[in-house]
Amino acid sequence: MAEKLLALEGISKTFPGVKALDDVSFDLEKGEVHILVGENGAGKSTLMKILAGVYLPDGGRIVHKGEAVAFENPRQAQDRHIAIIYQEFNLMPNLTVAQNICLGREPLHNGGFIDKERMRRTARRLLDFLRMDIDVDQPVSRLGVAHQQLVEVAKALSADAEILIMDEPTATLSEKEIDQLFKTIRNLRGQGVSIIYISHRLQEIKQIGDRVTVLRDGRTIGCRPVEGIVIDELIAMMVGRTIGGNRIRVRNTARGEEALVVEELRNHKLRGVSMHVRRGEIVGLSGLVGSGRTELARAIYGIDPILSGRVRLLGKDMKLKRLTPARCIRTRMGFIPENRKEDGLTLSMPIVQNVTQASLGQLFRSGLIDGREERRLAAKYSADLRLNTKNMSMLAQNLSGGNQQKVVLAKWLCTHSDFLIFDEPTRGIDVGAKEEIHNLIDGLAAGGVGIMMISSDLPEILAMSDRVYVMREGGIVKELPGDGTTQEEIIRYAVGRGDR
């Protein structure tokens, strides 16, 4: 067996409240594309950040070219020619393309002045190699997402990367851009660059991968050559159960009154969206990241401004100019945001105060807080959700992801809303808690609450929804029934090939 270029052996990493990685092993050979798959929260990004020197592992070791190494900071990883392209871009919007590409490695004249001409030439050479024709003197902020990503690739190459890690690079790209990226990846592989490619888009694996490793809940489940692999087998490895075992909810065909009616909604992102949700109905909202799903929810909830259109919420016509979360809550709407640590929770506050946060005015009309009543309510809703903690004064930051999401849910149960938007309700949550959250959403709908559920998890959308809207480029491109729709069908509409 040839010597591995890189081997991660028995890596463990614990964050407060979560064991992110547990004895994970992974290896890489020269000139291969090794795909790392797993659900959100499986530990893929953490593993790669360890390899890039962002985190130190708690246990295990990294062997690079037969030598045990420890990266204490990103620089040390870079010095061994390991480059990483993060999910969230790491470019400086205010600097030019050339400055970004050469950042930290600017070519110098004698005397320490930056050799701008050489810097431009380097940038242009790398971009030519990537078959990308852009002005290297313009600020990165003027580039589109796909171009920014290629600039990231060029930046990695400028460091003479021998190992290139790409964290979900296709999440925001169009089909054409993806093709271009894959060409680039094959090209790089041909030059002897080894690539670790993180994805949860299974269809991509066969297109570019040599080997694939599956992570689940911070553990290595297995490593297989791509040739001859069956996608269903991978899915089974990822989710720990076969896809047929997914519980399908009993569809609700009863026609309740309208909980939400949106007509021709327009703003910076939305291009005339019309849709509706009835009480007792679960409506899935699908589409690629950046298609405008979250923006639609934020507009309805009064966070993003609306230019024109009509919103009728629970029978009440909302004044668009004066639409605020407070008004929506008073009309009995709630919103479980996608980013629970930033938008959903106040991490530095105890569970109790998080639970009552959205219903303070409703619960304590006099303005005086009755501490005992508050604790009683928080305990009640937490118990309904089987929140695994006795101590209601524990700070939200010390809870695990699943429990944190339960606190957010308890917050909205506490408001007794009749219409709820869930944005990625189970992202980064373990399978058990996921099931519980699905049951809860199901139960709410059965109790007559109208539900709009945004999710990138197609099986989740299909298992839960009575109807599905597919969004693309700020508009709704298709309405599909929950029954009989396939993942492929949704994806076709989401990428703009619905007519094929």
């Binding site: 890039a52 962002v54 900071n73 990103p74 620089r75 870079q78 990483i84 993060y86 969230e88 871009f89 790491n90 470019l91 400086m92 919007p93 205010n94 600097l95 400055q99 950042l103 930290g104 600017e106 110098l108 320490g112 002045f113 930056i114 701008k116 600020p139 902020s141 003027r142 997402v145 920014q148 925001t172 950046g290």
Partner: protein
């Protein structure tokens, strides 16, 4: 990709908005000034007066700019000015030092305070404005201790060289300011360090992930601030022929105001050295204009307070799309 879309929008708007605002302010200032007293508006004496006020502010505005680019701020600059001025005057007057070693000692004192700022801010995730509010008081206190809370008069020709003397018709103070501008323009545009300062302001996490020593860069940023403030303090003391622990009061805010008028954004990442001069000139001209117009100091304070808030507002209006 919120993080990318935000600054893009801001930059676009800023590019569209900022130059117009600056010229509008210049124009308004000039008209106001001219209207107030047509006789003195363009006299060379008054112009030189503005220039001399401007040189000091121009140096301070660079000291303000560097932390602002990194999304920070330095409130201690005014006190460092006072401290350095007092140190120089004390050494010349009471210890009979030569002007050159006294100036060096004063600059070293300023650098010391700047290094304290830099050390604390670069190693702790704390709000720069509160740390520098603390050092502002420490520096002020040190200035009071050195001067025993009095004005130190050092009205000797050697001490006043910066104020009066000229090289080929150009006052020393202007020449010194030009030197500072040349050095820092080169630093910010042609050296790696300058690029890293902008990079930190653009995206600090990304800068760290790119292997930039963010701590070192921030440390140097505040240290330069201290050095420049000390230079400005010596210039002021030399011009006035005396030093007092209160002379630098308020300069930190005029510095911020000049920086923002000169196109720097409080949101970080932008601002160029030469435009700081424009900003300082506008603020100096405005102050001069208000003075010439015979406005009482009280009204000048009100107007300047409003102007500072006003220009920062214009600046942030461009960034409205962001949180």
């Amino acid at each position: 990709m919120k993080s990318v879309a935000g600054p893009e929008g801001r930059l676009k708007r800023a590019l569209a908005v900022v130059p117009v605002d600056i010229y509008a302010i210049v124009l308004l200032g000039a008209i106001f000034w001219a209207a107030c007293d047509p006789g003195t508006f363009l006299t060379s004496g008054n112009f030189m007066n503005i220039m001399e006020q401007c040189t000091i502010l121009a140096v301070i505005s660079i000291a303000s700019l560097l932390p602002i680019i990194t999304k920070g701020v330095d409130l201690s600059l005014g006190s460092i000015m006072s401290f350095a001025g007092v140190v120089a005057a004390y050494l010349v007057r009471n210890q009979e030092w030569g002007m050159a070693p006294a100036c060096l000692a004063a600059v070293a004192a300023g650098a010391g305070v700047g290094m304290i700022n830099g050390f604390i801010i670069s190693r702790n995730n704390v709000a720069p404005f509160i740390i520098t509010l603390g050092t502002m008081n420490i520096a002020k206190s040190l200035a009071m201790v050195v001067s025993n809370s009095r004005t130190i008069s050092a009205n000797t020709p050697s001490f006043r060289w910066l104020g009066g003397e000229t090289v080929g018709g150009v006052p020393y103070s202007v020449a010194l300011m030009l030197a500072v501008y040349l050095v820092f323009d080169a630093l910010m545009r042609k050296r790696r360090l300058g690029g890293y300062i902008y990079a930190i302001g653009g995206n600090e996490t990304a800068a760290r992930l790119s292997g930039i020593d963010v701590r070192l860069v921030k440390f140097l940023t505040y240290t330069f601030g201290g050095v420049l403030a000390a230079v400005a303090g010596v210039m002021l003391a030399s011009r006035l022929g005396s030093a007092n622990p209160g002379y630098g009061d308020g300069f930190e805010f005029y510095g911020i105001a000049s920086a923002v008028v000169g196109g720097a954004s409080m949101a970080g990442g932008t601002g160029s050295v030469w435009r700081m001069f424009a900003g300082s000139f506008i603020i100096s001209a405005l102050r001069n204009g208000l003075n010439m117009a015979g406005l009482p100091v009280s009204l000048q304070m009100i107007v300047l307070g409003l102007i500072i808030v006003g220009i920062v507002t214009l600046d942030t209006m461009g960034g409205r799309g962001e949180k």
